[in-house]
């Protein structure tokens, strides 16, 4: 019955409280590592949301989708269309993005979930690449004779778009800047206090992330979540006992698709431009890496994974030899040049090499991701492993 033991609600509330505090104070505690600027923090939060949603499917049911970037892109395009037609308010944009990506997820999920394992992964990958090709060449737009995705250039809000609700929701406020505003609050605005940057868009995304993670936590702890875990453990056995698993997996697929759509909308809320490259298979692969790196099936793992990948992407991909020389200044001059020329292969455009290496190490030595690593360290520090065993031994003796 081990599967039924899960943390008590008080543990969950403590964790949630720490999480909320950590997210809201990001602009402060990220400053020492040079990551406390709005664009990167928005990315942490948005991709954290994307990974959290993906984890509901992958972490709980074990179904590995290689096409979730499609929903990210669909969410983005829907959001920008909402800006173009309804105005620069993020709330309708987010609602439409979630709805439309949910509908797409229902269709793609219904077809893909007829298969499992590698066939499921390939089906989702194929659908995502189809969506990418359609968006990139704007095939539907060409068919309908309108500019639906604007192809390679990307879909943007233009000055002459109707934006019908702009006058209604934000009367008296100039919206000609074409930035997203929440009933008049410009989401690109940054308050600076003691050098810390508090960005309105970041807090909007953080707020959405907190709600979404709370929902994810409730799903994890619900009977529905338990059923999803059962699917992962042994779907055949469930089928033999007369349970139809399809509605459960499909629901998980749609929910995670909606999370991805919401993340896509947030990308456009912080920067109103939707490009097709968001739907490419590399983006789908990235979210898989995030979840595995952080710890699949854990609540906080995917968010950690997303943060680490986005942080290293920003740092390593912009490094070159001068930065390495500075960073490795402690090495004696003679050897440093050699070290730098080797290390420079792993930064800049070669930073994917670093990512690949780290990913391999994690998968080989820490299959449970960073969360498992943290747990192991905690056990070593507190010695709780030994104590647990003693408690277990005592319990057995008592029986």
């Amino acid at each position: 019955m081990k599967i039924l033991t899960h943390p008590t609600s008080s543990v969950d509330s403590t964790m949630m409280f720490i999480f909320v505090a950590a997210v809201l104070t990001m602009p402060i505690w990220l400053t020492p590592i040079g990551a406390a600027y709005p664009d990167l923090m928005q990315r942490f939060v948005i991709f954290g949301l994307f990974a959290t949603g993906f984890n509901i499917l992958f972490g709980l049911t074990g179904y590995l989708s290689f096409g979730h970037a499609a929903f990210l892109g669909i969410g983005s395009y829907t959001a920008v269309w909402s800006f173009k037609l309804l105005g620069m308010n993020p709330i309708p944009a987010a609602i439409f993005a979630v709805t439309v990506s949910g509908v797409f997820a229902l269709v793609i999920g219904y077809i893909s979930l007829r298969r499992s394992g590698i066939y499921f992964s390939i089906l989702t990958l194929a659908f995502a690449q189809m969506c990418y090709a359609i968006a990139y060449s704007d095939l539907i737009g060409k068919f309908l004779g309108i500019n639906l995705t604007n192809g390679e250039t990307g879909l943007r809000v233009l000055a002459d778009d109707p934006r019908m609700l702009d006058g209604v929701l934000t009367s008296g406020i100039d919206t000609s800047a074409l930035t997203v505003n929440l009933f008049g609050l410009d989401l690109t605005h940054t308050w600076v206090w003691n050098g810390f940057q508090f960005n309105a868009g970041f807090y909007f995304c953080a707020f959405v992330l907190i709600i979404a993670s709370y929902i994810a936590m409730r799903i994890f702890r619900s009977p529905f979540g338990l059923m999803l875990k059962a699917v992962k453990t042994n779907q055949n056995r469930l089928n033999y006992t007369g349970v139809n698993t399809k509605p459960y997996t499909l629901a998980a697929f749609v929910i995670s698709g909606m999370y991805a759509g919401l993340a896509g909308a947030l990308l456009c809320i912080t920067d109103p431009l939707a490009g097709a490259e968001r739907m490419q298979w590399t983006a789908s692969g990235e979210v898989v890496l995030m979840v595995i790196l952080g710890g699949m099936g854990t609540l906080m793992g995917p968010m950690l994974g997303a943060g680490i990948i986005k942080f290293s992407e920003q740092k390593f991909s912009t490094w070159g030899k001068p930065e390495l020389h500075e960073f490795l200044a402690f090495i004696p001059d003679g050897i440093r040049d050699t070290v730098v020329s080797v290390a420079s292969l792993f930064v800049g455009s070669g930073w994917h090499l670093t990512l690949g290496l780290v990913f391999m190490l994690i998968v080989i030595f820490l299959p449970g991701g960073i969360v498992e690593g943290g747990r192991r360290i905690l056990m070593i520090v507190t010695g709780s492993n030994r104590r647990n065993r003693q408690i277990q031994a005592a319990a057995q003796a008592a029986e």
Partner: protein, 452 residues
């Protein structure tokens, strides 16, 4: 959220309307911006940071690498190192060779990956984390337009690098964005008469076009210009950017009845499509009783180098070429050559010039305030930058100057001597009205200094 409520004012709520309040710069001269107007990323220390956002990976990576070389050279010259390059020939100039406004010029670089998403993210990082006061770069019009509108929203200046789409200073023009490079319309206007002289009036053209804003507007420009000379456009086919293999698009060309192939491709795409077209034997074919020919409207030496033998005798247009013999070009080629050991490309040239123009505008205005820069650059006339007398038109922030028509050199004397200049089309012949139909629908708007 309590942090914000406690410590920070709420003025930002009205930022949009406040920005509009900064309007009407026409009543001030440059120095009016020099005193006390707050603006985003105002440099506080002894240095000022510029952001160089170029493609370091993808189909335009070669151009991006050369742009970066030019930027680094420009920074050197601005800081008074090296031989000064075009700073010696640029006039009228207020540049002193001691940095800009007494501040040492520093820079950060970013990789656009030739993707709008990545380019905007990289530009945002430069503005937010590195406090860059100006963003420059390009090599893809899609990217340039996306970054230009980002800079407008953020409140920094965007000096476009290599971007050739009409839209950059047409329907997507922005007050904070400036382009020195020429555009598709100018290519068409310069190229069409030369094509007519060489190939006659009765020609059927088949377009292969990179499927994004640059390709679309160049295709339209070339088609319009050649049709006005009597040519017929048989077919326009769009190809994805970075396609690699173009054979599926080239096969139908020979059966279409067309006798001219217009390749609206750039960078590695052009190298691939041209090489494959030549391998298909197209240039040896006879169609409609005429020799089948290929035209590459936007040429660059880097591409020509990549395509090798295949470019011989092929016509195109270019913004600048290193073989020009005016003082500015010679000075630039010399100092670029000393630094890197080979001549600069047109991409390098335009980026170098843009950096100097920006620095000079800052010196003229006496401030880095974007609104001061805009005012100093609008309708600025200058010379000695390799293109003859040039006007930075205030109505659309586009430079007007001579356009070069070039041809692949039949007998190259060195591996850089690949293109020969056939004709220098005077600026007057390629000038158009700001509201010309191919450019209409754009609105510069007000300059944005990012001050809240």
């Amino acid at each position: 959220m309590s942090l914000i409520k406690k410590n920070l004012d709420r003025r930002g709520v009205l930022k949009g309307s406040a920005a509009a309040g900064l309007a009407a710069p026409m009543f001030f001269n440059g120095s009016a911006w020099a005193d006390g107007h707050a603006y985003l990323n105002a440099p506080k220390g002894k240095s000022v940071t510029l952001g160089f956002n170029v493609p370091q990976t993808g189909a335009y990576a070669d151009e991006g690498a050369d742009e970066l070389r030019a930027y680094k050279l420009a920074v050197k010259h601005l800081n008074g190192e090296g031989d000064g390059g075009m700073m010696n020939t640029f006039k009228p100039s207020n540049l002193k060779g001691n940095g800009v406004l007494g501040k040492k010029v520093e820079f950060v670089t970013g990789d656009t990956q030739t993707k709008s998403d990545a380019a905007r993210s990289s530009a945002k990082k430069m503005i937010e984390a590195d406090k860059a006061i100006m963003i420059t770069g390009g090599s893809s019009s899609g990217v340039a337009i996306a970054v230009q509108s980002l800079c407008q929203e953020a409140g920094v200046i965007f000096m476009a690098g290599l971007t050739h789409s009409n839209d950059t200073t047409g329907k997507d023009r922005r007050a904070n964005g400036f382009r020195h490079f020429f555009n598709g319309f100018m290519s068409g206007a310069a190229l069409a008469p030369v094509l007519e002289n060489n190939y006659g009036k009765d020609r059927k053209a088949y377009h292969l076009t990179a499927d994004y804003t640059w390709g679309w507007t160049q295709e339209q420009s070339i088609a319009d210009a050649t049709e006005s000379k009597g040519w017929e456009t048989v077919e326009k086919v769009r190809t994805p950017l970075g396609a690699g293999d173009f054979s599926q698009y080239l096969t139908p060309v020979l059966n279409s009845g067309a006798d001219v192939l217009v390749l609206n491709h750039y960078g590695k795409d052009m190298v691939n499509s041209l090489t494959q077209a030549v391998k298909f034997g197209m240039r040896d074919k006879q169609v409609n009783g005429k020799d089948f020919t290929i035209v590459v409207p936007l040429y660059s030496r880097l591409m020509a180098q990549g395509a090798g033998e295949n470019v011989k005798g092929i016509f195109g247009s270019t913004n600048w070429h290193w073989s020009l013999t005016d003082d500015g070009s010679k000075a630039f080629v010399k100092s670029f050559g000393q630094e890197y050991g080979f001549p600069p490309s047109q991409a390098a040239h335009t980026c170098y010039v843009q950096t100097l123009l920006y620095a000079n505008a800052a010196e003229t205005a006496g401030t880095f305030n974007p609104c001061g820069i805009v005012e100093a650059l609008e309708d600025f006339e200058f010379d000695g930058m390799g293109n003859g007398p040039t006007l930075y038109r205030g109505a659309d922030h586009q430079c007007f100057k001579d356009v070069l028509v070039v041809k692949g050199n039949e007998n190259p004397t060195s591996k850089f001597d690949i293109l020969e200049v056939v004709e220098v089309t005077p600026a007057a012949q390629v000038t158009y009205e700001p509201e010309h139909e191919m450019f209409a629908g754009g609105e510069l708007g007000e300059c944005n200094s990012g001050a809240a």
